[in-house]
Symmetry: C2
Subunit: 166 residues, 2 copies
DNA sequence: CATGAAAAGTACACCTT
DNA sequence: AAGGTGTACTTTTCATG
């Protein structure tokens, strides 16, 4: 709901203490949040209220940031996915980043290490719309050049996984 | 639920016919899928069953791919977000892509245009875990080199928007 | 964890355009 | 014929003991 998308995570976010059941629960909900507490409980060998209690805690603690519908980019008229590396002349571009948030084509905005200083994930109707977007970016003060990587096929696209690494 | 994450979208997905109410509904659900049909109906000036009917159709048509819980990467122990460009020696690496899907650190896998042939979005515990992952990638046959861009700050991170561009 | 009240989801018949 | 409404019924949510 609110735009609390990790905007500047200067404050070191300490990882929450999660037990194995929490992580399994998170894994299930990250795949399908329409499961009822009864279903989840059956899977986790917990009673529905027990599941409810855990979910409430995970939400309250911000471990679950929200529950959203995932849309099919192609079917809503945005079949072209592109990653755009943006070279900036100064670091005082933060103000202009807010402008990009207003564009529905822009899905992600990160500042990154490496040659380019900013990385955008954008989804457009076609190459023309991408070109229009790049023109707008170039017209913004402080944005020098861009390098675009158009996605040919997407093999995986999901959110953060709670599964512990081997 | 199922792994139908746009795996090879060779078949041209024709955009669905969506009216203005559909798009507004999708916009609301893409932000917060916990809203009740009553709430949505109030917002759209529709009765709850009418909303339900539309949502059912949008789901059935695959425009809504699913409903998921969005997790806080930092709080589940993955504070380090990195985009990895992978150079491949041959195009016959598709088989090996499946192996990467099994790694919980890997969130996205795309084949892209440009110098690098593949682009990964990965979220790790720390730089050590990232290094381990890069080592694994290098050890895979057909993967030549990598260039990593570590995210310093994330200003926006959302899914495809149904809003029509100006 | 079990119980139960309140709320939401869902099916159906009817009505309006 | 399509799509919306209102009612009734079922399931889920969620607070209490």
């Amino acid at each position: 709901m609110s735009e609390e998308t990790n905007v500047v995570r200067r404050k070191p976010v300490s990882p929450a203490k999660l037990d194995a059941v929490d992580r399994r629960l998170l894994g299930l909900l990250a795949e399908d949040a329409t499961l009822s507490y009864a279903d989840l409980g059956h899977n986790l060998r917990l009673s529905p209220p027990a599941v409810h209690e855990r979910v409430k805690r995970l939400r309250h603690d911000g471990i679950i940031k929200g529950t959203v519908a995932v849309l099919n980019g192609a079917k809503i008229g945005r079949p072209l996915l592109t990653f755009v590396h943006v070279d900036t002349t100064s670091w005082a571009v933060t103000r202009h980043l807010l402008a990009l948030k207003e564009l529905p084509e822009v899905e992600e905005i990160h500042t990154v290490t490496g040659e380019s200083a900013m990385l955008l994930k954008v989804r457009t109707k076609d190459t023309q719309a991408l070109e229009d977007l790049l023109e707008r970016i170039h017209s913004i003060e402080g944005f020098k050049g861009t390098r675009s990587y158009i996605a040919l096929s997407t093999y995986l696209e999901r959110g953060p996984s709670p599964v512990l690494s081997a």
